[in-house]
C-alpha cells in the first residue's frame, strides 16, 4: 500500500523519443550508396524497416478492433491477459498498456488503470505518453473537471503529432480519447441533473468543458431551462419512474411461479 505514485526522473525530450522509437533510422543516402557494390543507380534512402514484431505488435490489431467496436470490457480482458506473458521493458508494451488504460478510463474503472501504469518499467513510465496518461487518470480520479478537459486536449495533440512513435497507435488513441471525452461529459451531465436544482452557467461550463453557447445548446436539448437575467440553468429532472419492485403488477408471471415453486420445494427437502 504505497502512499503515492513514483516520480519519474526528468529526461530530455531527445532521450524520451529515443526510448520510444522502435524504427531504426534510415541510413543517409550517401552512406547507402557507398555501401552498395552494384552498378545500379543510387536510389533514395531505403524506407525504414517495419517495427520489430513481437507479441505486443501481434495482439495490437485485435485490441484496435475491439476499441473501434467499443467492446471495452473485452479489450481490458484481452490486454490484461496479454500483459503477463511477454517481455517486460519493450516499448511496444505501450501498444497494449495505453489502450488498456484508456479503456478503463472510458468505463470509469480507475484503480486497475492506475495499477496498469504502475506495472510499466521506469523507462516506459518516463515517456510523454505514459506521463500524460497518468496525469489524465489523476485528474479524472479526483474529478478536477477543468484539468480533465485540458489534459484531454494535450493528449489529443500528443498522439496526433506526425512524429508520434507509432502512427497506428496514435490513431487508435485519438479515437479512444474522443470516446473517453464523450463518456466523461455524459456522466458529468447526468450527475449535474441529479445533484443540482439550479446552477450558474459559468459552473456548468467548467463541469462540461464547453463554451457557453454549446452548454446552452446541450441543456436546451435536454429540456433544461435558462434564466438569462441571472444566468442560471435549471436542469430537467427525469420523470419519477417507480422502481420495478414498487410497481403493482396485477398479473404474476410464469417465471415468478417457477421461482416460488423452486423455493418451496427446497424448503420441503
Amino acid at each position: 500500500m504505497s502512499g503515492g505514485p513514483p516520480t519519474p526522473p526528468p529526461i530530455s525530450a531527445t532521450e524520451i523519443q529515443d526510448a520510444t522509437r522502435t524504427i531504426v533510422p534510415p541510413l543517409p543516402a550517401a552512406a547507402a550508396a557507398a555501401s552498395t557494390s552494384t552498378s545500379a543507380p543510387v536510389a533514395a534512402a531505403a524506407p525504414p524497416p517495419p517495427p520489430r514484431e513481437d507479441h505486443y505488435t501481434l495482439i495490437f490489431p485485435e485490441i484496435a478492433s475491439l476499441a473501434s467496436d467499443k467492446k471495452f470490457v473485452a479489450l481490458t480482458s484481452l490486454a490484461e491477459r496479454n500483459d503477463i506473458i511477454s517481455e517486460d521493458r519493450s516499448p511496444n508494451r505501450l501498444l497494449v498498456i495505453a489502450p488498456l488504460v484508456l479503456a478503463y478510463l472510458i468505463m470509469d474503472d480507475l484503480p486497475p488503470a492506475l495499477r496498469a501504469l504502475y506495472r510499466l518499467p521506469t523507462n516506459l513510465q518516463a515517456v510523454p505518453l505514459a506521463k500524460q496518461l497518468y496525469a489524465l487518470l489523476a485528474s479524472t480520479s479526483e474529478r478536477k473537471y477543468a484539468n480533465v478537459y485540458a489534459r484531454v486536449q494535450g493528449f489529443s495533440e500528443l498522439v496526433s503529432q506526425p512524429d508520434f512513435y507509432n502512427t497506428s497507435l496514435g490513431a487508435l488513441l485519438g479515437l479512444m480519447i474522443s470516446t473517453f471525452l464523450d463518456a466523461f461529459r455524459s456522466r458529468t451531465f447526468d450527475l449535474l441533473v441529479k445533484a443540482y436544482t439550479s446552477l450558474p452557467l459559468a459552473l456548468a461550463q467548467t463541469y462540461l468543458g464547453l463554451p457557453a453557447d454549446e452548454v446552452l445548446a446541450v441543456a436546451s436539448k435536454s429540456g433544461w431551462s435558462y434564466d438569462t437575467s441571472t444566468q442560471v440553468l435549471t436542469p430537467q429532472k427525469p420523470t419519477q419512474t417507480a422502481s420495478a419492485s414498487n410497481v403493482f403488477s396485477p398479473f404474476s408471471t410464469l417465471n415468478t411461479f417457477n421461482a416460488i415453486a423452486d423455493s418451496v420445494a427446497k424448503l420441503e427437502t
Binding site: G3, R115, Y118, R143, T197, S198, A244, S245, N246, A259
Partner: protein, 432 residues
Amino acid sequence: MAPDSLSLDRILTEITTTNNLPALNHTLKNGLPKESRETILSSPLASGQDPLLVLDLRQNTLGVLYILSARLNTTNGPVPPELVASFCRSFIPDQARLAPERVSMLARGIQKLAAVYQNPLFAVAPLRDLVTRYPTHPDALTTIHPIFLQACISADQLIAALPVLSIPIAHIIPSLSDLTYNDNLMYHYLGGILFALLKKWTEAEEYFEICVTAPGSAPAALQLEALKKLRLVQLISRGEVLTLPKYVHAALPRLLKNTIYTDLFNAYPENAERLQSILEKEKQTFSTEKNLGLVMQAIDRAPRWTLKKLTATYVTLGLGDIARAVGIQSEDEVRALILSMIETGELSAQISASGTVTFSDPPPQFMRAEVDAVLYNAQAQSEILEELDLQMARSKDFIGKAASKGQEYGMQDEEMYMAGGSGAWAEDAMFV
C-alpha cells in the same frame, strides 16, 4: 555423477513405461534416498540430455512434476521458463493430485524462478493455470492459492486474481494439498490487500474479516495485522469501525487496543487536527507496517463522514455552514466533496445555484431481479451450510465430543430428577 544419472535413467524408464501411477508415485517419493532425492531428480540423464525435453509434459505429468519441482528448488540447472508455463497449461490434474507436496514445491519454485529473473510478471500465468486446474473444486483451498496472490500483488497484476478470489473458499480437502493453518490466514489476508488496492472495500473487508475470525488457540501475528487493515478499510468505506463478531479470539481486540491505531479510530472522523497530528507523529510506524496508504486515504475521506453526520440533524444547509462544520476552508472544495458523495451514492442531496444544499432520504434503488438474485444466493448459501453442518455432524471428533457431553448432561439430568422430582411423583403415586 554417474550413479545419479543411472538412477535417473532408470526413473525415466519407469515414468515412460508404467501404467500404475500410484506405484510410480510411491517409487519417486520413497524409492530414492531422502538426502539425495532432489539432486538425483534434478540431474541430467547419463547421455547429458535434459529429461524434461525427453518426457511428454502432459502424458508423463507425475514424473515431470517430480523432476520439475526438484529442479526449481535446487541449483542443478536452469529451467526453461516456457517449459514451466507449458507444463502448467497442460498437466493432467489427476496425476498431479497423487503428489500434492510436489505441487506445493512446484508453486514455490515458480515464485523463486520469477525472483531469479527479477520479473514478477513471469510467475502469474503459470500459477494462475495451476490454481485453476489443480483443485478438484474451485472453492477448495490449496497451498497454491496464497502463492498465486503473492505473485499477482508483486507483479501488480491484480485483475488476474479476481476470477479466483470471486469464488469464496468453502472446502478444505487435506488429501488435495499439504495445507497449514497459515495458508488460510495468508490467502485471505492477501486477498484483502488485493481488493484494497483495487479500492473494492466491501470485498476487502470480507476477506480481512475471514482472516481475523479464523479460529485458533492463540491469535496469530497475521491476524493482528489483518485486524488493523480491517479497521482502516471500515473507516474508509463506512466512516466508523464495526463491532467484531463474537467468534473472534478474545485476545485480538486487546492486542489492538494497545497500539496507536486506537487513538486514530477514536479521533475519527471529526477531530481532523488530532488525526493529522497522529499521522505526523506515527508516520514511520504506519509506513513500516505498510498501512500508511490506508491511513492517508482514511484521513482524506474523514470530512465526508463528518458531512454525512450533518444529514441526521439538518435538512438544508449552506455551503459555507457545511465548510465550517467539516473543517474545509473553501466552498468550492465543499461543493466538489458533495458532488463526489452524490456521485458515489454516499449522499442524497441537491445543491441550488445560491449554494444551499438540501438533504433527502435516498430513494430505493433496487430492482425485482436484484431481490430475486439475493434470495437465490441466500438459498444456495443455506444449502451449502446445511451440507457442511451434516459433514461436521458425521465427523468422528464431533460425535465423540457430543457423546461425552451427552453423557455428562445425562448424569446431570438424572441428579436433577432425583433431587426435584420426588415431590411430584409422590403426588402422582397418591392417585394410583
